[in-house]
């Protein structure tokens, strides 16, 4: 995938990223195969945008996010990051020590606000930890900085000495956001950051993320399974199926004019909050293919209602079929598919 943009406008450029997990069996735990969680992904992220990454459980969206962050080591591929101080760096080649220099500029917010905060640490220590590790501040300056961060995410600095258990899910997620913001990062990977929250609280956190993006000129990679939330927050959306990108486009283009049959099925399945629009879902026969033993050709072909002979034999490549709209389907140019409006 090549962006028609200058290198200056990009923040992240990922080429042919792969992450395989070995499957070990038997007494000697010999490797007998691999789960191809991420199987050759190309994508780029522009500065200041929100890229949504969607797909169903097990499609590899979380693994993609974590591999890009180098929380997991990639099996193959290139992860180029445009660091404000170091310029373009290849994250996949960096050692742990070298990564420390880049990490302040890339942070992650996790799904579960209950397990991602250490219950034995006070709010102050949780939010201050990145600042302490990177020796950014200490003493009174550190306290002031933590207080500022808490105010930024809409929490009162007086809560600094409390422990996470004293807060609700939404407040804890705010703490996670404060921690991610501590080092003034460029890129934040939000991995199902609002999925565990009730709808009214979800709206508060989504608005906060939008405000912070403007205020601090942040770039988000927003990983989620909830397509309505992603439509709301993302500028562009990438759809994954069994470790591969099947479609990537501007949000409206993808939702109203999907070109991949899987994206069409996702849009049709989405329960719309409107009783006057009850569409029947597109039935996808069978189950999601196994990433340990994917089918031949296009991974989606056994479930695709448009599949032809070619689809079982040849693996489609991600192609740009119109400006900024990438699809990986042999038939993409010939199909008329239903968007979210049915």
């Amino acid at each position: 995938m090549k962006a028609n943009l200058s290198q200056n406008e990009l923040l992240l450029d990922v080429r042919d990223l792969k992450k395989y997990f070995p499957v070990r069996q038997g007494m000697w735990r010999r490797s007998s195969g691999a789960v191809r969680a991420v199987d050759g992904i190309d994508l780029f992220v522009r500065k200041g945008e929100t890229l949504g990454l969607v797909g169903e459980s097990g499609c590899g969206k979380t693994t993609t996010g974590r591999t890009i962050m180098r929380l997991l080591d990639p099996t193959a591929g290139e992860i180029r990051f445009n660091d404000p101080n170091l310029g373009w760096v290849n994250l996949e080649k960096m050692s742990r020590k070298e990564l420390l220099k880049v990490r302040p500029n890339m942070q992650i917010i996790f799904q579960d606000p209950f397990s991602s905060l250490d219950p034995r640490m006070t709010v102050e220590r949780i939010v201050a930890e990145p600042l302490v590790i990177n020796r950014v501040a200490h003493g009174q300056e550190l306290r002031d900085r933590v207080a500022d961060l808490l105010r930024v995410v809409g929490m009162r600095p007086e809560y600094m000495s409390r422990y996470p258990h004293a807060f609700s899910g939404g407040q804890r997620q705010r703490l996670g956001i404060a921690r991610a913001l501590a080092l003034n990062p460029r890129l934040i990977v939000c991995d199902e950051a609002v999925s565990a929250l009730d709808v009214s609280i979800q709206a508060q956190v989504l608005n906060l993320l939008e405000d912070l993006q403007v205020q601090f000129n942040l770039t988000y990679m927003f990983i989620a399974h909830d397509l309505s939330v992603v439509e709301h927050i993302a500028d562009r959306v990438a759809v994954m199926y069994v470790g591969k990108l099947v479609e990537l486009a501007e949000t409206d283009e993808l939702y109203y004019h999907p070109k991949h049959p899987y994206a069409e099925a996702l849009m049709a399945a989405l329960p719309k909050p409107d009783p006057r629009r009850r569409d029947r879902p597109i039935r996808l026969p069978g189950e999601v293919a196994s990433a340990a033993n994917p089918p031949s050709g296009c991974y989606f072909h056994p479930r695709c209602r448009y599949a032809q002979e070619q689809c079982a034999k040849e693996t489609p490549q991600l192609e740009e079929i119109s400006a900024g709209h990438w699809v990986s389907c042999h038939l993409a140019r010939n199909l008329q598919l239903r968007g979210v409006l049915g």
């Binding site: 169903e56 459980s57 609700s168 939404g170 407040q171 009730d198 709808v199 009214s200 609280i201 979800q202 709206a203 508060q204 989504l206 608005n207 939008e210 399974h225 397509l227 309505s228 939330v229 439509e231 709301h232 409206d252 939702y255 109203y256 099925a265 996702l266 049709a268 399945a269 989405l270 329960p271 719309k272 909050p273 409107d274 009783p275 006057r276 629009r277 009850r278 029947r280 879902p281 039935r283 996808l284 189950e287 999601v288 968007g339 979210v340 409006l341």
Partner: protein
């Protein structure tokens, strides 16, 4: 034998009548008033949605109906009546009523109702299926418990019912253990188990929340189809307003242990009345609306369940609050028009009859 004399009543459109139900949990931290006066008429043969955020009492309502409220919780007050319609020889109908709240929760009668007349589907299919028995054995167990068939007959019926819920290869699936099935197939098995004794009421508590969207759509489609086919009543509990719009005929919106609005599904989405319902609808992204309007979150948080809020429980978060009224008195539920019942002082001055708690 019935533990309670069944009494004839007239209203046959309501299959389940809940009146002023209070279910409290007596914990070390204090009393949690999970249900604080729930009144609800569940219409027969329809799908009624129960929607609300975590802690509003929607699941406790379901557990109270089945008399499965776990300790230290108990039904403190109120009434749940199940109505049965029988056809008599002279083609007239007789309607009887069983007060579920009067039954012994371990007694014979409630046990015959659970899984028989009223079946339930839970959220997480992996934890509600027993991992050490095959799917077929578990469905057959329910059938044997409630119907007069032998083991072979029950197994045969298990295969048939799995086929009915669209399970591929039902005759091999009956021999499978739950871990061998995917999430969607497990939930199909749960639906099959719930339907195995042709219940008149199906309580579905977030049955698709753990599923992926394409699988969810299939299960919803299946439940709608079966509902139309069998004419059963479904009480559908969910926090997802999209699912409510797709599934339900009428909807009850709950907040802090009370029903605050009851309306037809169309009226609820196109003409919501209660400030909480309106706020909920404004706080969710409306997919396909082509507007990138900012979400309007509800300010504040749901108060913790151990505190009691004076007046209307929603008043601390409400934008329409009438000071001196909403923060002092509790509004009663009243009909606004033939499509809405709302519990709010914007529509009526009617106050809830004060009762000693």
């Amino acid at each position: 034998m019935s533990e309670q004399a069944a009494s004839p009543v007239s209203d046959r459109d309501v299959i389940l009548q809940i009146r002023n139900l209070h279910t409290y949990f007596f914990t070390d931290l204090g009393i949690s008033r999970a249900l604080n006066g729930v009144s609800l008429d569940v219409p027969a043969g329809k799908v009624m949605g129960v929607v609300g955020e975590s802690g509003c009492g929607k699941s406790v309502t379901a557990l109270s109906i089945l008399r499965l409220v776990p300790k230290p919780g108990r039904i403190v007050r109120g009434e749940i009546a199940l109505r049965r319609v029988y056809s008599q020889d002279d083609a007239s109908e007789m309607i009887t009523e069983v007060k579920l709240t009067d039954l012994n929760p371990q007694g014979r009668e409630i046990r015959s109702i659970r899984g028989g007349e009223i079946a339930m589907i839970f959220q997480e299919p992996m934890t509600s299926l027993n991992p050490s028995y095959t799917v077929g054995d578990q469905i057959a167990e329910t059938i044997l418990l409630h119907q007069k068939v032998d083991k072979a007959g029950a197994e045969e019926r298990a295969v048939k019912i799995l086929d009915q819920v669209g399970m591929p290869n039902p005759s091999t699936v009956v021999k499978r253990y739950p871990h061998e099935l995917s999430g969607g197939m497990r939930q199909r098995a749960m639906v099959a188990m719930a339907l195995s004794c042709t219940p008149s009421i199906l309580i579905a508590d977030e049955p698709t929340t753990a599923l992926d969207v394409t699988t969810e759509a299939q299960i919803l489609d299946l439940m709608r189809e079966l509902q139309a086919q069998l004419g059963m009543t479904i009480l559908y509990i969910t926090h997802n307003l999209g699912v409510v719009a797709q599934m339900c005929d009428t909807v009850a919106v709950m907040y802090l242990g009370r029903v605050v609005e009851l309306a037809t599904v169309d009226a609820l989405f196109y003409d919501p009345r209660h400030p909480y319902t309106r706020a909920l609808l404004h706080s969710i992204p409306h997919v396909g609306s082509r507007t990138k309007a900012r979400l309007e979150p509800i300010r504040g948080v749901v108060p913790d369940p151990y505190t009691t809020v004076a007046g209307c429980p929603f008043h601390p978060r409400c934008d329409m609050i009438k000071p001196g009224l909403c923060d002092v008195r509790v509004p009663a539920s009243g009909a606004v028009d033939d499509q809405h019942q709302v519990r709010c002082f914007l529509y009526s001055d009617q106050e809830e009859a004060a009762r000693e708690g």
